[in-house]
Symmetry: C2
Subunit: 237 residues, 2 copies
């Protein structure tokens, strides 16, 4: 069950169906020892490109899930599905509206035990996803702690996802998120390009997600698996 | 723990701190055999009138919780706290915004194990609460099933609350909600005035909430406890 699986994820790659990746690079990613591959992206994601990428990943024995940004691009056959609910927006469509429409359409056909909700906080105001969802991405540490508590204690969402989307984040913000969490798993994604960054975020986040680096330096991307996995989570004082 | 307690609630009274209730009527309500008293309302609810009502209820050995509509009126000393999140609105403030502000203000002082979230669906478009929260209250049965699934399967909120707020609802809508629920407890509230209505809703809702009737026919309100408790939940076909 996905809900249990994610508790063991320490390192994950996120692949964008709308970007090109050679067979060799894909093989390196899928056999890297990462805990899972997430397929998803903000724009240009279609049923066709998602399906094609899934078919290619399926040649390898790696756990592969889809992160759903648009219900018309949902592809059957994944090991599981992650569904974001954006917390730092006032656009209800991105909190629960798109979800309601999908549930209203698919009704009892949805395989709920393969699905996990993610409480998203988007922290890079320049990112496409921030503009799309009209996020308030300029948050202080105490705001992030409050969103973490909202996600963890009030809504009990299994994943709290800090998304810096292409830029490298601030360790103090990731630490502020940890402060608010007991139950939700902390995912960090954004801008990791070297060992120091991979290890810094792996010290505070339960799960580190590497995306962009796959597309411009696949060897380094593969190394992030080792860097993250040899780092121990630090205790909060 | 409140989360466990609510699973046994079959009948509940809801008292409005902004309405007058004689000592005799209050005694009848508190000793009626109901499973709990909820104190809360939409307008005119203050710290002072909530505190005064709690003090009066506390003379009796009945479980008493506050339903929070406004964090400036939160009173310590209740057995627990219910926090509504309105699902059929596009105003993010009523979904998670007010909650975020409260968490941001009170931080680590919040006693989370005394708190339970409620997924609210408001079905009377004329109700004050519907206008306040700008709800889309004109829902079909399939919409209500979809909201139930959103609450139950996606968000895993412990309570799905169908609020008809002063008017008596439709059994088919309550049944449609049941269809979408596995995990969340179904609360029904609105317009129950006689035995037939109490029993009709008690056949489909896990918990029946009686509010208004307390204020204009307290003897009948007391009788709803018996009517609800002698009704068995009907199985969905």
């Amino acid at each position: 069950m996905l809900r249990k699986k994610i508790k063991k994820w320490r390192h994950v790659f996120k692949l964008d169906p709308n970007r090109l990746l050679s067979d060799l690079a894909l093989k390196m990613i899928c056999t890297s020892g990462t805990d899972a591959i997430i397929i998803g992206g903000t724009d240009g994601v279609t049923f066709e490109n998602t399906f094609r990428l899934l078919e290619r990943v399926k040649k390898y024995p790696v756990y592969c899930v889809q992160e759903i940004s648009n219900h018309s691009a949902v592809v059957p056959g994944f090991d599981g599905y992650l569904i974001p609910s954006v917390l730092n927006t006032d656009q209800s469509y991105w909190i629960k509206g798109a979800h309601f429409e999908a549930i209203r359409t698919y009704g009892s056909l949805i395989p709920w035990n393969q699905i996990v909700l993610e409480g998203y906080v988007i922290l890079n105001p320049e990112a496409k996803v921030a503009r799309l969802t009209k996020c308030d991405a300029n948050l202080q540490a105490r705001d992030v702690t409050a969103y973490a508590r909202l996600c963890d204690q009030l809504f009990r969402i299994p994943v709290f996802y800090l998304e810096y989307s292409g830029t490298y984040g601030k360790a103090e913000i990731v630490k502020a998120a940890r402060k608010g969490l007991q139950y939700s798993r902390l995912f960090y994604g954004g801008g990791i390009t070297d060992e120091q960054q991979a290890k810094e975020m792996a010290a505070w986040a339960d799960t580190v997600i590497v995306g962009n680096l796959v597309y411009y330096h696949v060897e380094k991307a593969v190394s992030t698996v080792k860097w993250v996995k040899e780092t121990k989570l630090r205790a909060l004082k």
